[in-house]
Amino acid sequence: MRKPSLLAQVLTHLAALIVAIVVIAPPIWLFISSISTQNELLSVPIHWIPQNPTFERYGQVLFATGTDAAAVFRGSMINSFIVASAVTLICVTLGSLAAYSFARMGFAGHGPLINVILFSYMLPPIMLVVPLYTVLANWRMTDTLHALVIVYSALIMPFAVWIMRGFFQTIPRELEEAAMIDGATRLGALIRVVVPISLPGLVATSLLCFLMSWEEFLIALIFTSSPSAKTIPVAIAEFTGRHAIDYGMMATGGVIAAIPPVLIAIVFQRYLVSGLTSGAVKA
C-alpha cells in the first residue's frame, strides 16, 4: 500500500481524536458529576472542572447504613449479580449441550429447530411480558429472583445456543474423531476434547450472557417491585423517577453500575468482539 501523505496522516489523527472525545466525554461527565459538590452541580453555567472533588457519595452508596436509597441500591446490585450469574450458568451449560448437538449431530429436524431458536432470540420481550405477567401474578411468582432467573434464561438461551453453535462449527471434526477412535464416547469426547478447545467461545458466551442479564430492563421493571428482587437497571431508573432528583446520587449510582460491564468489555475485548461478530453475521 502506498504510504499516506503527511496531510492524510494529520487528518486521520484528527478524526481519531474527535471520535475519542465524542465516545469518552459523556461518561467522563457522568463521573465528574458524581464527584462534584451539590453547589457545583447546580451552578449556571457549569465549571467543568470541580473545585472540591468529593468521593463522599461513593462512600454513602457503598457503605452507609440506615439511608434507604443507598441500601436499596446495594441490594439491587447484589440481586443483579445473583441473577446474572445464575442465568449465565444455566444458559451456557444447557445452551452448549444443545449447540453441540446442532453443530455436530445433524439430523432431520435440526434445520427447522435452529430457525425456531433464532426466531425466539429475536422475539420482542414485550410479547412475553404481557402473557407471563398474568400467569406469574396468579401464581404469586412475581417479585422474586427465581422468576427473573427463569424468564431471563429462556430469553437468553437461544442466543447462547446460536453463538456456541458457531464456535463448535469452527473446531475440526478430526479432533473428536481421533478421541472416539481411541475409545472415547461421544459425550467423553465432548467433555475432554471439545470443551477445552472451545474455552474462548465459552468465555465469550458467558460474558455476553452476563452482560445481557445485567442490563435487562423491561422484564425486571414489570416483575420486580420490592427491594428484595429489584435489579440495578430498575433501581437506576427510579433515581430519575422521583420528584426531587438528587443528580449527584444518580450519577454515582450510574458510574458504579457501569463499572462491572465496562471492565468486562475492556478486559475481555478480544473474546467479546469475536463472539459478537461471528454470532451476528455468520450462519
Binding site: 444443545a98 448437538s101 429447530l113 425466539s120 411480558v129 414489570i222 450510574g254
Partner: protein
C-alpha cells in the same frame, strides 16, 4: 448395532438412512438428549406465553373492569387497534426513530470503521474506548444523557451557551419538537460502536491485494471505496441493517427513562404504547393483540435476516 462398532457417523448421513434410523441409534438419542433441556426452558417460557397471548388477544381482559368477565371477541381487539389513530401515531414515531437512528448509525459506523482500519497512533486504545458505549447498560446511557440534556443544569445547554451557539437554555427533552431527536442521539451514541465493530470485522476480511491491483490500474481512493470496499462489506451491512431494524422497532428502555413517552406523546413509540395499554390501563387483551402486531413486524424482519444469514457470502 453397527454404530457401536464403527462409531457414530462423522458427517450427516444421507436423508433416506436418516429416516430409517429415526429414534433408534445411541447417536440419535444423544442428539435429542442434548437439546431437550434447553428446549424445555425455551418452550415453557417462550412458546407457552406466545400461545397464551394469542388466546388473550382474542378476548377482552380488562382488569380494571372485572365485571365484564373475559368474553371472546374474535378479532375485535385487532380491529379496534387498526381504527385507533393513536396506534398509527405510535407506529409513525417508531418508524421515525428506526429510520433516523439507523441511517445515522450506519453512516457513522462505516465511517469510523474505515478510520479504525487505517494505521494511526493510539488505534488500539480507540478500539478499546469504543467498547465503553457498547458495554454501558442502556438504562445508564439513558440517565447519563437525560442529565446532559437537563434544561437547567445540563452540560449540553452550558456548552452550547458558552460557545455562543444558543442564547437561552433549552428544555431539550420537554419540547415536543426536539425530544425524539435527542433520544435518537442518545441511542446513536450507544449503538454505533456495535455497527463499527461489525463493519470493521467485514473490512478486515477484504484482501489488501484488491486495493493494490486497483491502484496499479490507476484507481483513486474514492473509486476504490465505491467499487471495492462498499460492495464487499455490503452483505454484512445488510445483515447489520436488519438486526438494527429489529432492535429499533422494539425500542423501550431509553424512552421509558428519558421521556416516558412524552412530552405530548411525541416519543410514545409502539412498545411504550403497548406497555401503557397493559400495565397502566390494564387492558391485557388489547395489549396482547398489540404484542402480536409488533411480533408480526419483527417476524418479517427476522425472516429476512434468517434468509440473509443462510445465503452464501461470496467474494
Amino acid at each position: 448395532m453397527s454404530d457401536t462398532l464403527m462409531g457414530p457417523p462423522i458427517s450427516p448421513a444421507p436423508r433416506h438412512t436418516q429416516r430409517r434410523r429415526w429414534g433408534f441409534t445411541r447417536e440419535r438419542r444423544l442428539a435429542w438428549a442434548l437439546i431437550i433441556p434447553a428446549f424445555i426452558v425455551v418452550f415453557a417460557l417462550i412458546f407457552l406465553p406466545i400461545v397464551r397471548a394469542l388466546w388473550m388477544s382474542l378476548h377482552i381482559m380488562d382488569l380494571k373492569r372485572p365485571a365484564l368477565g373475559q368474553p371472546f371477541v374474535g378479532l375485535g381487539n385487532y380491529i379496534n387497534i387498526f381504527k385507533d389513530p393513536y396506534f398509527w401515531d405510535s407506529v409513525g414515531r417508531t418508524l421515525y426513530f428506526m429510520v433516523l437512528s439507523i441511517a445515522v448509525e450506519m453512516v457513522l459506523g462505516v465511517s469510523v470503521a474505515l478510520l479504525l482500519n487505517r494505521r494511526f497512533w493510539g488505534r488500539g486504545l480507540l478500539r478499546a474506548l469504543i467498547l465503553i458505549p457498547w458495554a454501558l447498560p442502556i438504562t445508564i446511557d439513558a440517565i447519563m444523557w437525560k442529565w446532559i440534556y437537563n434544561a437547567n443544569y445540563g452540560a449540553l445547554n452550558s456548552l452550547l451557551w458558552q460557545l455562543g451557539l444558543i442564547e437561552n437554555y433549552r428544555p431539550w427533552l420537554s419540547d415536543p419538537g426536539t425530544a425524539m431527536n435527542m433520544v435518537i442521539l442518545a441511542d446513536v451514541w450507544k449503538v454505533t460502536p456495535l455497527v463499527i465493530l461489525l463493519a470493521l470485522a467485514a473490512l478486515q476480511t477484504i484482501p489488501e491485494t484488491l486495493y493494490e491491483a486497483a491502484l496499479v490500474d490507476g484507481a483513486g481512493r474514492w473509486y476504490s471505496f465505491w467499487h471495492i470496499t462498499l460492495p464487499l462489506i455490503m452483505p454484512t451491512m445488510v445483515i447489520v441493517l436488519v438486526i438494527r431494524s429489529m432492535d429499533a422497532f422494539k425500542v423501550f428502555d431509553i424512552i421509558y427513562i428519558m421521556t416516558s413517552g412524552g412530552p405530548a406523546d411525541s416519543t410514545k413509540v409502539i412498545s411504550y404504547f403497548t406497555y401503557l395499554e397493559a400495565f397502566s390501563y390494564l387492558r391485557f387483551g388489547r395489549a396482547a393483540a398489540l404484542t402480536y402486531l409488533i411480533t408480526f413486524f419483527v417476524g418479517i424482519m427476522a425472516f429476512v435476516y434468517i434468509r440473509l444469514l443462510n445465503r452464501e457470502i461470496e467474494y
